[in-house]
Symmetry: D2
Subunit: 389 residues, 4 copies
């Protein structure tokens, strides 16, 4: 477990390495957080839920950090306002790194001893939590640097996912009474993935791969962003208010050529790559335009478990038709970590799969990602489905 | 059908009768509409979807009304901005009544002939549509007059629903593979109620009656509005932003006694009556505090079809755990009325049952009402449920 | 004094006569008030500052009206929120008229006796106050009906001011050490008009008449609304935020012809009439474009006292270069009416003259009208000036 | 001139020296700018108005900087949105320093030659411009670090102004026909300070020193922030909206002791020091409470020229009763720098004197500083005045 701890912690720091102190300090919108905050908050998580409670004699690095780096845990005390995270210039990046080292050392000591299962669970949770923030770190800093008219690259060495290519095929998925939800014997999973339960599915087909940029260009050219009848009412209002004309991070150069801003900087749009940085409203409108629909999360999970789908987990998160609500029999984790997932089960839509920014080994078939339907700054795309009869 | 047409139309006018011209003109928030607008919009519906298309030689009452009284039908042309409906002082109430008479006479002529089934459907839809606006008329004007510090009664003769009384019992509902959705042979139902389809339900229990004001007072006294851990994250943010301390239309008099504003005016709160004017966030927090949960809409429908539940359809609408999304195989109606329901199937939660303000004969067991989870101005309450296991 | 009281009171009611109950109830923006509110507030003024204090045995018409119809007098107690005045459907127009009658009768009784000077002053103030609201009533209802896409006429019999015609001449005004301010012996004047005091004026010239619509059209055609260098920084921000392209109440018909909405309804723009419904920012930008400037209020007053200027007081209010600040030695009136003028002497600019909507006999040479520099709904225009040197 | 250039440029860099890269990057409100932006913008000023136009062969450091670092010069081309200055993480602090060096070297070459008077004026303007930004740099970073709940010191070595001590005396100022405005023969002054002109002043008295913190505490204790009758109407609305209870940067510790946040960090409030970080609304309310008033700018200037006033120019800026408007005969500078002052002459109030943060040698007796009346983040205080008769 020490080794895994070292590996996950090191990955966060590698993600921050190409960024300057200024890059790591700013917050470009209330949904996003500074890189530095992600580095500190994930550290606070171990300090608060593990070291502070189970490590006798542990001394907190700085008593003010509990206020600054608690995200949303009401039970863990008051905290700095989320939209003001970009106002915290001190502690500096260097002090945050020192904070990480302090907690790292204490955690290695703790892990060097015989760790009982409840603590092992919390360590594992801390690591999965840190992996979630690793993905957010990438998308948040991408959003932040996109505000700069110079469009600087966050990480010149970043590599986009490989395009699948070819036509999408519509495959028959398993139907009837199926079971979904991560099996209880899985070593680690989030509370929102269970309990495993039965769902009735009518026959359907699902696409072998996500929708591509090239297909999305046809939607744009067909007036997809100008036709209210394709959109949900709330979606059209959002499109209008924010003047969406294309996915986030797309722009046209002087010759009308489409460019895409990625962590590697601005580059010509690859028509064969999966479309990303679209919100649920856009995904839903596209599907309607295409004469299809989004899959439900149960369809997605049942199909992904049995069919030869491409780009399941390392390309783009895939919006589903399902609102993010508790599974039948859902119970939040006991104790302080009970706030982790349950309180967000409203107004959000489920995404399945995983993206190029999801750390390897993090997601599962039963993994439920979720965002409000107007959010576009994640690596989010879509896979089409349709009724079979 | 002429008789039914007369009855429904007359009911709208009876609802408006106790209101002054000023009462009928104002709009107290973007969600609400002036009484006068409801009277005109329901009239426009027949004119646009029936008379203008199927009655040869029909002359519109006033060509400007199509712009003023279209609500949200993109396919029916441009329209006046919803939040500005209260700015329309002319046509006057008297002119709107004249508009109603004009359309009424033409409709009676149309209905006096042999009406083919597709037109019969549109007439029936127009009547159900008008009934929906009858309920909105009552809740909208209640909200409007509530803005007046004098708290004038909208309709001094209005009668509240009768309290059920007694303790609620938790009853076992039908489970396993059940069917829900309004059966296709039902003479009229909204597109969102079908198709009838199978759903798997784990065992559960459901309360014999809705939650009462007295039970809600205990929630308040127990600090229900002060404890973030009971609330969804978005719900707590809304509670905080709008400073909710009690249901809408409740206020304390100088002696701390709770009063409730209803169409009949301000009166002492009846502890045995069903609680109403709560939003989904409040219903959900209450259920969590009570150690229970809201029923899903499938549970509600299956239970209401078989169990002796009280106050199913004439007291308060009952929030469910279900997001308002299309049923499997859902298809919007063809043609212009296709915008009726489908485009609102996001960010809203399903309510089941019916309220004291729902016109008799309007709702059905399979009826799906829906509002955003922060809306409180309808006659909305809750019925508890729990897992049976 | 009884006769004058009757005349002024009657004029308010004549202004409201062409308006429906709905017209009189709505409020189209926080700056404006419903007609009905003006009728009631001016009545409350006599009740509060005269009858309630000096008429033994006077019974208030309705104790709730003090809350509803106090405008901004902190010392007179709490009051209904200004932006919510349009939410008051009751008392009805008829009840407001009854309120007026109640106070009218009591005032006539009071005026029928021997009235000491301090009371005479308050009566006179009440009448001037009511005249100010008469002008606001006209501009507020014009703004309200302008929200209606049907552009109904407020008062079909309304007559615009007569155009002056001809070229404007630039006239030399009195300079050196001059005196301005309404002389203390004037029977009635507002506290803000005094004390009379000395001001040093460098030589200047002032236009014989206000700027016309025709001249404003040339400003539009020359790109006046598109050239930031002509505008104050705050003015350009306002122009941009509200997308001003022409004065308020101007619109182009399908053929590009300019129309103007007035109390008499929509009619072709008269190029010879004085431009109106422009804010200070627009007046200032126009003057800069024309190579001139606005007069200071001292220049305006000194010139108007001695030169043969046209359209001084019955056409449009004329923006000046002067911020509305207290004169040297200014003291607000003693007592409750001390809040009348003084607390608005910041962020506002002085207008001089009077408009077509100003009741005859209301304004004086020394009269100081004032509005924030972005306000456009009054009958506001401009007269140019320049340095003579 | 080379020497002076070096001195002023060096002072900017010394001010930034105690700040981290993160401190220099953030923007805490639209009124404020990042330190890094101040360092770059003052550099852009020389590049744009001098080197680019008068230095043959000059190569701009980076063509993107003109867009990023233009503040508000419409005539100098498009620019980055002011409220988004904190989103610019790149160029980094180090790159901005390199930009400064690039321009510095070019400027020294230019100054090493024979400089004609028009260029000398622009150099001098650039230096005064940079000095203005030096003061803003201090106040902006103070505001930024004040957002941090840890209240870190911007500059631990910062020294507050020395308290004057003793009672304020009310001194008779020069009255009658006086002259104000910076004399035309002054080597450098801003266009808004002239032309020198005559003003008539009635007799008045002016305080020998600014109001102190101790005096302000008495205003607080007397309920000054709770009494609307002391405030301008717009001021009371602002006080209420922003919940002002004390000057900016004041806070009470757990024992109720008043602390003040300064560039040196949080320290007990010195009752003998001049009050600072108050807006015009507060200054005006205080003066009314004290039975006095603010001086006009003409009174201030005439008095400061002749009387032995304390703390004229090195303690706090002093709000005056005067709106910031052009002097009679004012003409903006010709050319691109014409936008420097004139377009802000609305909605702002004049401050006179100078503050502890004003670079030595920058201000003059005739210097006109100005801010909107609700701004509190500058070193702003007040000096009382009163009518002499």
């Amino acid at each position: 477990m020490q080794e895994r701890y070292q590996a996950v912690r090191g990955h966060s720091e590698r993600l921050a390495a190409p960024l300057s102190a200024e890059d790591q300090a700013i917050q470009s919108m209330p949904d996003a957080s500074p890189t530095k905050w992600h580095l500190a908050h994930t550290t606070w998580f171990y300090e608060t839920f593990l070291l502070g409670r189970f490590e006798p004699g542990y001394k907190v690095c700085n008593p003010d950090y509990a206020f600054l780096f608690n995200s949303y845990y009401e039970a863990a005390g008051p905290r700095h306002a989320r939209p003001a995270r970009g106002m915290i210039t001190r502690p500096s990046v260097a002090e945050v790194i020192a904070y990480r080292r302090h907690v790292y050392a204490a955690m290695l000591r703790l892990l060097g001893r015989d760790v009982p299962p409840d603590l092992r669970f919390l360590v594992e949770l801390g690591l999965h939590h840190e992996q979630q923030h690793q993905e957010l770190l990438v998308t948040d800093v991408l959003h932040a640097l996109a505000q700069n008219p110079l469009k600087p690259a966050c990480d010149p060495g970043w590599r986009p996912p490989l395009p699948i290519g070819g036509e999408a095929r519509m495959l028959d998925g398993p139907s009837g009474l199926v079971e979904i939800g991560t099996p209880a014997e899985t070593p680690f999973y989030f509370d929102n993935e269970g309990p495993r339960h039965r769902v009735w599915l009518d026959p359907y087909r699902i696409a072998s791969r996500p929708v591509t940029n090239g297909e999305w260009l046809r939607f744009i050219e067909a007036g997809g962003y100008a036709q209210p009848l394709l959109w949900m009412s709330d979606g059209w209002a959002a499109r209008y208010a924010e003047d969406w004309q294309a996915p986030l991070h797309w722009q046209q150069d002087r010759d009308g050529r489409w460019m895409q801003f990625s962590p590697a900087g601005l580059a010509p749009l690859d028509p064969d790559a999966s479309v990303r940085h679209i919100c649920w409203y856009e995904a839903d409108a596209f599907a309607r335009w295409a004469g299809k629909r989004l899959p439900t999360e149960a369809e997605w999970e049942a199909a992904a478990a049995t069919l030869p789908l491409d780009a399941v987990a390392d390309d783009v998160w895939q919006w589903t038709e399902s609102a993010y609500r508790p599974y039948p029999g859902y119970r939040p984790w006991a104790g302080l970590v009970g706030e982790y997932n349950g309180k967000f089960m409203i107004n959000t839509m489920v995404l399945r799969g995983g993206s190029v920014a999801t750390p390897p080994g993090h997601a599962r078939l039963g993994y439920r990602n979720f965002f409000h339907p107007d959010k576009r700054w994640q690596f989010t795309g879509l896979r089409l489905a349709e009724n079979a009869r």
